[in-house]
Symmetry: C2
């Protein structure tokens, strides 16, 4: 399982290292790409949330599978925040993403790290362990949204 994350992480780092112009034909594609990746991530994260919050019965296998998808998807959106993608399509991305890139990277790295912990926690099959990791991951989402996502 770790190999999955490691492999996707390696992919992501390489993608991030390439110039944005080589990755997206149009600025709007970059914006749509990051929004799409985050939406898919959010849907799978929400399924874990439903279990953590008791809205649906806890199923350790389903939780682990969704957490793996969350951790894999978490690698992707960042390539879509390249220079010049602050506008060009409807976006809630705040200018701070581009004016304070180190802070944005720190916040996004934190989220990626928490999703990896979430995937590991989900594999324990222990609901309390999952709850703790879910809370930490949700906190990293919220911190980044608070700082870098507008209304």
């Amino acid at each position: 399982m770790k190999a999955i994350l490691t492999s996707v992480l390696a992919s992501s780092l390489l993608v991030l290292a390439a110039p944005a112009s080589a990755q997206f034909a149009k600025t709007e594609d970059a914006i749509k790409y990051r929004q799409s990746a985050l939406f898919v991530l959010g849907q799978h994260f929400g399924r874990i949330g439903a279990m953590v919050n008791g809205r649906v019965p806890f199923d350790a296998k389903v939780a682990a599978e969704n957490a793996d998808i969350v951790a894999a998807m978490a690698q992707l959106p960042w390539a879509g925040f390249g220079p010049g993608t602050d506008k060009g399509a409807p976006t809630k991305a705040e200018p701070a993403i581009w004016t304070e890139p180190a802070k944005f990277k720190e916040a996004s790295d934190k989220m990626v790290a928490e999703t990896a912990k979430l995937a590991a926690a989900a594999k324990t099959g222990n609901l309390d362990t999952l709850k703790t990791a879910f809370g930490a991951t949700a906190g990293s989402c919220k911190a980044c949204h608070d700082a870098f996502r507008g209304k």
Copy 2:
């Protein structure tokens, strides 16, 4: 690498086996989910296409990493085509998806299978092998679009 696909495939099959109502809070979420997953897939597939078509230099490692993401993403969209998701948000999905589900499943299964072959072909590092697999995958995309996607 095979473990990645196998794992994601297992996740996907399980997700598909769950009732749609348990997966998406709203019909529009299901529609947005499948569109998002296919858009992310398309962006990574396009990067391979650019190499295959000579628009950017062939980089075997980049091709393989993108093909792995394509194969992983290919597992996801189908859960978003559940009963009742033929409308509820803008969608090009044709009614045939729901009136001829066996044919749609055959077409989507074909695409998933071709993306797995694409990932394997990309790992050979041979451009001609990649070209062949890319063409077959693109053909499976087109066949499904021709039959099940409107203008």
